[in-house]
């Protein structure tokens, strides 16, 4: 890959991550789901440096099917923990392309997330990894891993989407 191509690619990737954050902050969850490939995984590990989602529990480990259920749940009139839905600001930073080939780009970024719901504001911080697949429809998320800095803490129920 030439230097020029890499710079171009990075701007494209930043636009993609900002678009993803925008969709989440504006409650456009179906459009957000549309960013994922059919075989995508969405993972919030329970333990710091957790390598395996099958040998240790995860705060969230979902394939496309479970992720669709998670998003659909917000639409139900008695989705108690999700009504009202949290209002959020996803602040994406430190975007770095770590690896890239013709099919996939591996991107690391940081996320600071402000969440407001029921008279309470929470702040989350996470190191995020996206595996972005180049498809005919443009970039799509093949895997997203959100390593919360406080994943091992005693946490109240988590309903916002990172």
């Amino acid at each position: 890959m030439s230097t020029a191509a890499r710079v171009e690619s990075r701007a494209e990737i930043e636009r993609f991550l900002y678009r993803e954050a925008w969709l989440l902050d504006h409650g456009r969850l179906d459009d957000w789901l549309g960013l994922f490939t059919d075989d995508a995984t969405y993972w919030i590990p329970l333990e710091a440096d957790q390598a395996d989602p099958f040998a240790t529990s995860s705060i969230v480990y979902e394939d496309r099917r479970l992720l669709e259920i998670r998003v659909r749940q917000f639409q139900h009139p008695r989705a108690h923990a999700r009504a009202p839905a949290p209002r959020t600001v996803h602040q994406v930073g430190n975007v770095q392309v770590v690896e890239a080939d013709a099919q996939e780009v591996r991107v690391e970024s940081t996320l600071v997330l402000l969440e407001y719901r029921h008279e309470r504001q929470r702040v989350w911080g996470a190191l995020v990894e996206h595996r972005l697949r180049r498809t005919a429809d443009g970039l799509r998320i093949g895997a997203k891993r959100i390593a919360l800095v406080n994943s091992e803490a005693e946490l109240d129920g988590v309903v916002c989407i990172f």
Binding site: I69, Q75, A79, A153, E154, G157
Partner: protein
Amino acid sequence: MNVQSIKGLVQPDRVHRAVYTDPALFELELDRIFGRAWLLVGHESQVRNPGDFFTTRMGREPVIVTRHTDGSVRVLVNRCAHRGARVCDATAGTAREFVCAYHGWTYGTDGRLRGLPLPEGYEPPAGESTDGGLPRVPRVDAYRGFVFASLAERGPTLVEFLGPLRASFDDFVERAPDGEVEMAGGVFKHAYQGNWKLVLENHNDTVHPAFVHASSIWAAREQPAAGGEAYSEIGVRQMLQNGAPWEVWENTGVWVAGYGHSWMGDYHDDSRLVAALDHPAFAEYRAALERRLGPDRAARVLGELRWNSIVYPNCSFMSQFRQLRVVYPIAVDRTAVYAYSFRLKGAPERMFRDTIAFSNVVNGTASPVLTDDLEVYERTQRGLGARRSDWVYLGRGHGGDVPDRAGVLRGRSGTSEIHIRNQFTAWLEYMTAET
């Protein structure tokens, strides 16, 4: 608060809201319930070898659970005999001794004071004036590998305390082809702004799923069926099971025993979730179990169908699904619950993979199911702050309890609130007992 006024809070089919909201009562509970009862502190697999330790709490009391060099399990109060600092800061590990960070006082894995810098400077000499070490929790015992401790010098033995509920622990362990289980797969730590009793009242409540979990049941039903062996099968199927029809819940048994304990029969009919049914996913596991027990006994073990078993006041577990939860009261309106998974030793690795998938949907801090439970505990706590109405009604199935085996009552139907009334019977006994 005197005994008479405490007695006035609990009536046969209702309790006063103060039991959930009064900070003074909460402090009394820590002394009289969490300070007396056998509390589950962990599992022997966490302290397999001499020197292994983990830290936890008994109620709010910080403790270290260690395997001493003589092979015994000790439970020590995690507080330096000198100036009171927490001696062990790690959650788990292996140590020959515990050294206080503040002035270097050093303790053995039995809690005994082993040494301290500049001992001649204390008057009288240190060791004589401090009982010699970390306070030992007076009673420690285990049942089938599950370690319990009591902060009280005297009381019923662990076997007396557990009574008929021992069968649930037997069920847990007998399901392992090697006859042993081990804690594995991490720990969920979830918390909520509500009283500690709310979670224990919910676990054997069979009316709540249709309402509390309506949204995850619906969202899972809307999802096209996939089948096969995708990771998500376990989670989706469990969400769907919560939508079982009323006759299933009514016919699911709920039993209570002394000391506030209870257990529920199982409501699952999905063959991919229940090892007793004939899904091919369990074939290898059943074969492994049969090698130890023979086919008849293996079928009997797998046919023991229980959902939650509650050891009042701090433990709730799923013997069939290899989950165990420990309840930590923090304040009258704040509770933490730690949820652990277990590996059936000798079972194929696939069984543990299922356990993890199950744990994520049932006990996960962000689970589409559990988050709605936590939300409802918080709404209940807020509602109970209302002063216009003092009573909490627990009348479902009241008057219809059915004698079962010795020392056990069964609810008139699976939706009886017998398990909550039984918890308050024990609550009142603890709270008004002389010692």
